[in-house]
Amino acid sequence: MKIAIFPPNSLILADLVERHGHEALALQKEIRKKVIDPEIDSPPFNITQDEPIKGLKYAAIEVPSGVRGRMAIFGPLIDEAEAAIIMEEAPYGFGCIGCARTNELSMFYLRKKNIPILELQYPTNQEEAIDIVNKINTFLDELEEKNG
């Protein structure tokens, strides 16, 4: 299954998802397409004026351009998602996405999708960390069972 992860650049979440044979809808893959596309040359992300325009599908014109630019990349991932794991309050080291407003909107869209979602708070100690990994594993296993 295609699983949206949040933060979408979390290597830990992407790794856990892939270990269970699912596909993580990770930001890195999308950014890679932007970076290696020879057609456009606008470092560092090869984002042009087109992205904030594409982002209008997800966020209105009165929303800051940075939010719309981000949504042009996050939005299609959310559209594809068949399940999601959301980790809130994650620090930089876990995978950081810079704009709080984009995060609020992305999580809102995921919740609105009516797909299985596992919502977690970032662990503050080892016990919680173990518990969270177990919850993620169980969630992913159940998805596999449902999927056959």
Partner: protein
Amino acid sequence: MVKIAQISCGTEYSGVQKEIEKAAATFGAEITIPEADLDYIDEAYKKFGFNAASSSIRLMIARAMSIVEGKADADAVFIASCFRCAEGALVRNELRRFIQQNTNLPVVTYSFTERTKADELFIRMEALSTIVDRKSLLAREKQEGLTIGVDSGSTTTKVVLMENNKIIGTGWLPTTDVIGSAEEGMKSAFEGTGYKLDDIDGMGVTGYGRLTIGKHFNAALIQEELSVNSKGAVYLADRQRGEATVLDIGGMDNKVITVNDGIPDNFTMGGICAGASGRFLEITSRRLGVDISELGGLALKGNYKHALLNSYCIVFGIQDLVTSLAAGGTKADVAAAACYSVAEQVYEQQLQEIDVREPLIQVGGTSLIEGLVDAVSTVLGGIEIIVPENSQYIGAVGAALLVSGLGKK
């Protein structure tokens, strides 16, 4: 090479990063990103005391802290965040203050949209580069020798001849042919002084036509209007130390510049419609049958509340004016309403997006319209406004003042 530290949020995703780099490179500057590791980010924003929800904004704070604490090498700072982001606007402004209070680095702030192009950033990057390159020159507080300043504006050309910190000759005429208008302006500035062009120690030029006339007359100083106008304004208003805001409501566009010790740190330029410009007042005075120089005095006698003039567009603004007159409004009330309407629109379109610091120094030809100055003060809650003598010549005065620091040509 001038190193401009970029402290920003959203530039990559808005697609404006390359425009920022292009604008900096055009003026021989290089954009650098201040260092901030993961642990330092938490430490920095806690120390700063602003717990922003967006992690990129926390990163902005850490980058600013890194500059203040001397961990990053920079000659100037460019702070930018998305237009319309409230959190970005709050942090952008607080970081600007924080860097200015704790370093001597020039700072320019900007709020961008996805349509921001390098050209719009040119004047800011040029200002940052020249402030760094010419710091000692910009610190100049007195004019020395015999110098001439030419401000080749989009509407008018202003010329000022200065000798030993005094204005001894002026010229002010509409800009038609850029070089011809400058020649004409200089002729009138030299008139009666006994001096001629060959006698001067240096020529400084600014304004839209600066490159053309600078090259033609082999001027010693060719500089953008941002730093020149700020310098001219604080010099004429005798406010060379501390903070101030320079407001120039022009014939076609408006400029608001905030300055710190005479050095500009933020500015906004333009206007959505001519309803917020000097041109509207020019047309108003024509319709009222008074000379533009009498409009301000007339406005002071009227009450803006008695006539409704609040259109953004110059065409509808005049329609409102005609309606007010037809409804029995007095000329004085209409003049007052026209001034108030321009002030209100300048506030709505420009002053709101800038951190207005007292005193406000109002300059340019429109600063001679007393009713407009009064209306700007009303709109801003009665703040202190200084209209220095010769306020219409600030660009030319700034250029004549600065070029005197370059020595004899």
